[in-house]
Symmetry: C2
Subunit: 356 residues, 2 copies
């Protein structure tokens, strides 16, 4: 048996569309990142992070780096979820050691100031689509390229709070006290995100992921209105225009709202954080939904038998399901490269028929 | 109909033991707190927070304050979850604007240094039991007094991290890399917590709550070992010695592990954070489990129709279940007193028979 399987589509795409593939397709969130010396070498040549993301040559190179070492089944576009607010003129800057800083959007006037930029926002990110084209051209046909965007809720948290690392009181307060204003901000982000993802699909992305890093801070009613509803609109628009491109939703921390998310948004696959027991996901999430996840990132940092055992538990729990193996969150910079190699080898060797 | 119902036990206790009471018993997490001017006045006389918690006269007074204004069905002991590590000699200090600071416990030697203090730890907190006795003597027989402790996992996070506000990497790392060392720390906390809660029960507490504020940061396997297992041991010990005292577990952020927690720990009631849809809890949690929660604290800060509507949704969703109304997390200092009064009036007026 070779690394690829019969059929014209990459194994990742087939798994995302519900096929119980004979191998375990895998990629790792933040697989292009600081744990790789070759990433750090390129990053050192690009002092401004936004400019780095918008440099097709460099972004293409770091997107491809992890696949050369580990042979993942998918590359994920090197970019940032704050490129959409950048294109909307929200003044995104990354300060060393501080994380992102944005001009806060906290009232109707600030939301209105974004409107003129909406029509041209996707076009302003043309460098990203150039990166997508280059990566796609460089990949083996059996390997997939995943494009992505932040979810409207998660992107809005950064825009309202004015950065990351806050307690979400401003964004949750705005959503509760001025729901019409916040709805307009979310609607702008829905529209910009649809255009941005469509352009990635047209440039050659084989699958798309919506990162909803902060969906877990919402109460249940807010989760419905600010996560489920906007995500559903994005999924519907993408499906209508690009029916061959599967969509992955990653509502981190969604907890008891996870099944509702899987049932109501229409995503093809649900990304699971490490808090979800693999057996729970196999039992409770809809059969038509592909599972993606969910090894604790601390275990890939630790490596060894503990990492292997937790990986085997996921593979065993999901042996009757369509799934894509991943981590529950991004690889951290302290992860030894040899642990990633060990995990990749374990995953490449797994065969569903032997697990049944 | 009067505020109390037939029977010899407080309505809160009956609800926690599974009775679908005709009224909605209620209390609010952190109901004795800074949103009350009379609390701030007493707090100003006690510069050291640990000493404040261990002053029976002052602690009794602030425990009773909210009941005088709002007529909750339960008082909750004024204390802190870090009193147990304080009694174990972990050097707890509260610094203004910084939160708690502890001497970090990060290796076998540091855990071993706690051992000599274990036997006398509960006795070192005798001031707390004096507070319990005073509050119980001052309360109406129809009102309950809730004692509490932090869960071993949550208390351990503060002990290993050396305070709050961290990313839990140290405590999660210790639990993964040196599980025997971390197990010994948890075992010490289980034993100290059982002794501490038994003494509260003997002093007159009518119900006990285990606060597991940080249960949501654990991956599923860790949740089983560090939350479910220690909680089960505490519940079994308490039930054997004090079968008439119901136990509430509050595994904040437990998400998809919530049903497992309710089924496996043996708690009589499960506290729910605001992320849990009330209808989900009514449908998915075991029938024998009393539900407690879960209004978004931002809504009591906001007040008005939005607060009323969300409150009615909870009451409606739980009309066929035993439940205790509460918030999904503690009252924040900015909550207007009139909002607490408005919510309390709504709750006092509710009748189950009219809701069916």
């Amino acid at each position: 048996m070779t690394g690829t399987e019969p059929g014209t589509r990459p194994i990742l795409v087939r798994a995302l569309f519900g096929e119980a593939t004979s191998r375990a397709p895998f990629w790792f969130m933040r697989q292009a990142g600081r744990y790789l010396p070759e990433y750090r070498a390129i990053r050192a040549t690009a002092p401004d992070f936004v400019a780095f993301c918008l440099d097709p040559e460099k972004a293409c190179e770091v997107t491809l780096q992890p696949l050369r070492r580990f042979g993942m089944d998918a590359a994920i576009l090197f970019a940032d979820i704050l490129l959409v607010p950048h294109a909307l003129g929200a003044g995104v800057a990354f300060k060393a050691g501080e994380g992102p800083v944005l001009e806060p959007v906290r009232d109707a006037a600030a939301v209105a100031r974004l409107e003129p930029a909406l029509a041209g926002a996707a076009e302003r990110l043309s460098a990203v689509y150039e990166t997508v084209s280059r990566v796609r051209a460089a990949l083996d046909p059996a390997q997939a390229l995943i494009g992505f965007a932040g979810s409207p809720w998660t992107v809005a948290t950064y825009m309202v709070e004015g950065g990351g690392g806050h307690d979400f009181m401003r964004v949750r307060g705005l959503a509760l006290r001025e729901p019409e204003v916040f709805q307009r901000l979310v609607d702008i982000l829905v529209e910009a995100t649809i255009a941005y993802l469509c352009r990635q699909a047209e440039a050659g992305a084989n699958a798309l992921q919506l990162f909803d890093t902060w969906s877990g801070v919402l109460p249940a009613a807010g989760f419905e209105r600010w996560v489920v509803e906007p995500t559903s609109r994005i999924v519907a628009a993408l499906r209508a225009r690009h029916p061959g491109i599967p969509l992955i939703g990653f509502p981190r921390g969604a907890g008891t709202n996870l099944r509702r998310y899987a049932e109501a948004t229409g995503v093809d696959a649900v990304g699971l954080d490490a808090g979800v027991a693999p057996a729970w996901a196999a039992r409770e999430l809809p059969r038509r939904t592909c599972l993606q996840g969910n090894l604790d990132p601390l275990l890939i940092a630790m490596g060894g038998e503990a990492m292997d055992a937790a990986t085997r538990e996921i593979l065993h729990s999901w042996r009757e399901r369509a799934f894509v193996f991943n981590l529950g969150h991004g690889i951290t910079p302290d992860v030894p490269v040899e642990n990633v190699e060990r995990l990749s080898a374990l995953l490449r060797a797994w065969r569903r028929e032997e697990a049944r």
